[in-house]
Symmetry: C2
């Protein structure tokens, strides 16, 4: 006889790939601890997959192809979604929430695309929607942002949130290889997908940036709001130039609260940038992720760990699962409010950034003055200039102060058209310089 108090909590698992099977395994292995932490046993009620015959190692009676029925089943309390992608994940999550199930998801694309609708549905139905695994894998990050720093004011969140591009850039720095060569190596070693577009063009990082900015600034930010540049244009020259000025090149997801006269706004962008080698993010190598946070009172914080992989992602899913299970038993929802600040999202053109520019110029008097004048004409102030002569040519390496991104890009365009400039050999934004 089972009393209602000891009835197990039943979990519907959507998807049983790398992450799903790790979740399944952990629920089994940690059964004793989960029971102690939740207050009740946690059991898997069913697993929705497309091709049951592809999962011979899973208890066959749990498998179903009918995900829609599974997520609304009377006996299911909690739903774990690890399918990824927009559909059918969105429809299934909405159906689960509407049926009063709390949902744990690892789906960054969906959250970045349609977060406000999903949050509103969860709030309306009085259930939880947690998604720690969607950003930076196992690193506890979203919960600290949302909860631990809830009494503080966040200024900036700067993260290395894509392991594939970080591996490629790390290899370029170590070996001097170009992008294509480093990508080929990453693909061969399994660090890059056969179609690497989502990673190398920054789509994956942009989705994560949207989620981070939404939580950090209590403002709805979608992936479409995020300015995005990938790393395919980063050259071996860029990486070498970075090293010359004591920097390293990283693909950064940057979320900032920017003040102006009419109140604050939020700037969210993903692009490669030079950062000083002394910056805590600079030494984050290979496939690791790290997120650097600046808050008004807390100061500088950094979170570091594995950003992907079945086991690390499953660890984050299980942490959320314990939380939503405990909330359910307490009859409460753990969700904080999300979009109340509703700040404006500032376009990249108006966002203050800094540039590094390397130019090949004719080595004759007056060239530096002409170049400097072009920066001044766009109201861009120069922080440092280094000039190296070689024969009748010279290299100018310029780092600017902060200026609106549109002024900086207009300056670069103008420089390309100047007769004295033989070539613009490297242009990259710079972050983290004092």
């Amino acid at each position: 006889m089972t009393s209602p108090q000891s009835r197990p909590l039943k979990v519907a698992l959507l998807g049983c790939g790398t992450v799903g099977s790790a979740v399944l395994r952990l629920i089994g292995e940690q059964a004793h601890d989960l029971t102690a932490r939740v207050g009740r046993p946690v059991e898997v009620a069913g697993i929705a997959v497309r091709r049951p015959d592809h999962h011979p190692d899973v208890p066959q009676h749990l498998l179903t192809t009918d995900a829609q029925t599974l997520v609304t089943r009377e006996d299911v309390d909690l739903v774990v979604e690890v399918i990824g992608g927009i559909e059918p994940a969105r429809t299934l999550i909405l159906a689960a929430l509407e049926s009063g199930k709390s949902v744990v998801s690892a789906n960054k694309a969906l959250l970045a695309d349609d977060g406000p609708l999903l949050h509103a549905t969860a709030a309306k139905c009085g259930v939880d929607l947690y998604y720690e695994a969607a950003v930076a894998g196992a690193i506890p990050l979203l919960r600290p942002l949302r909860e631990s720093l809830a009494g503080d004011q966040l200024r900036r969140v700067v993260g290395i949130v894509n392991g594939t591009t970080n591996y490629i850039l790390s290899r370029m720095a170590e070996t001097g290889a170009g992008f294509a060569e480093a990508l080929a190596e990453a693909t061969e070693l399994g660090y890059a997908e056969a179609d690497p577009t989502a990673d190398v063009d920054g789509f994956d990082a942009a989705a994560k940036a949207a989620i981070l900015a939404s939580l950090a600034f209590h403002t709805p930010v979608s992936a479409a709001d995020v300015y995005r540049e990938g790393i395919s244009a980063v050259s071996a020259t860029d990486v070498a130039r970075a090293a010359e000025i004591g920097c390293t090149v990283k693909l950064l997801a940057i979320c900032e609260r920017v003040g102006n006269g009419d109140g604050d706004s939020v700037a969210v962008r993903v692009h490669p940038a030079m950062i000083p080698t002394s910056h805590p993010l600079a030494s984050v190598g290979g496939a690791f992720n790290a997120v650097f946070v600046e808050a008004e009172a807390a100061g500088q914080l950094m979170f570091y760990g594995q950003g992907a992989g079945g086991e690390p992602t499953a660890s984050a899913v299980l942490g959320d699962l314990v939380a939503v299970a405990r909330n359910r038993l307490a009859g409460a929802s753990g969700q904080g409010p999300t979009g109340y600040a509703n700040l404006a999202v500032r376009p990249i053109a108006d966002t203050p950034t800094r540039y590094h520019v390397s130019l090949d110029v004719a080595d004759k008097p007056g060239v530096l003055a002409t170049v400097a004048q072009e920066f001044a004409r766009h109201e861009v102030s120069i922080a440092t200039v280094r000039q190296n002569g070689h024969g009748d040519a010279a290299t100018l390496v310029i780092v600017t102060h902060s200026a609106p991104d549109s002024a900086l890009s207009a300056t670069i365009s103008a420089l390309r058209d100047m007769p004295a400039v033989r070539g613009v050999t490297s242009v990259l934004r710079v972050e983290g310089l004092s």
Copy 2:
């Protein structure tokens, strides 16, 4: 007219020093955000201090010397304790919990001394006891350990959790100074207290280690269970020897789950140790704190930030305040179970550690063999030996494999008595070597 739904939540603040006045300021400055995040305004109902005339900048009508009455006042919902020390903090917190108030504390000494009683009282009364600020200041750490990793199995938590000793050791490494000289500098700059005992002898770190181990392993661990060595015996020679083998010296708080035939136990210790400069903790300099975590599924994680100071500590207090306020309005307690695993605490003698030993020996044939035999006699396996001859003497630098700490210390004692050994010039444990 105020409806019950919009009645502000009232906070009693115990103590108004550096942290307390920062908490007071933040509650004022963040009023708008706190209301949005909590769902109700949060107001300070009273501030208990010993000497009201020492606080001219605080609204005088809020001040009281009668802390006992304040914490049990009908209109008080939440209590923030930032007095520190064991008494009267313990009596006041227990009175607050018994009166149905949730408590936020920054009191590491009290939590490490009497955690189980405080937790049991909170659970019995159905209220919350949160204390993120007690360990590693602003770094969100306790909540990730307790909640985000709740579905994972922790193996090790290794932290730099005392800024004073980290500053001193950093300066010794940078300047070659001895301990006394570096301590004098730290005192002059305000990084060390006039009486630095709690920091340099490792008491502060041991209290934090006890709290970390309790949460990480769901086992009651008190400060008295923690093996403790401070840094006053660390010499300039130790620091130089560390550098020679690619290491740096840090005061570490180490909490490990150690397996053996009869089930797992927990080893908790604080001592200086050499760690490889490539280890993520090695580059944590000055007054910063960082905690490195190894979990079964999540793998390696690191949390980094400011470990002390009024503002950072206040940020952690306010994060907890928002959480307990939300729990109160939801009628729920956010506290997870704490001591259910109740593992045995293993004494240092039985805990596996590794040693670095530097010896001055006579430079003649057979000495290395004699020394090696002494290690073997204690069943300590040697990982590496480096021998440098200079005249008729030689230096032996030995790093052992892992062995019970008692076997290692017995080996050192025996070496000191060997005729061939002219002196044991440096002995330090080694952590993080593969």
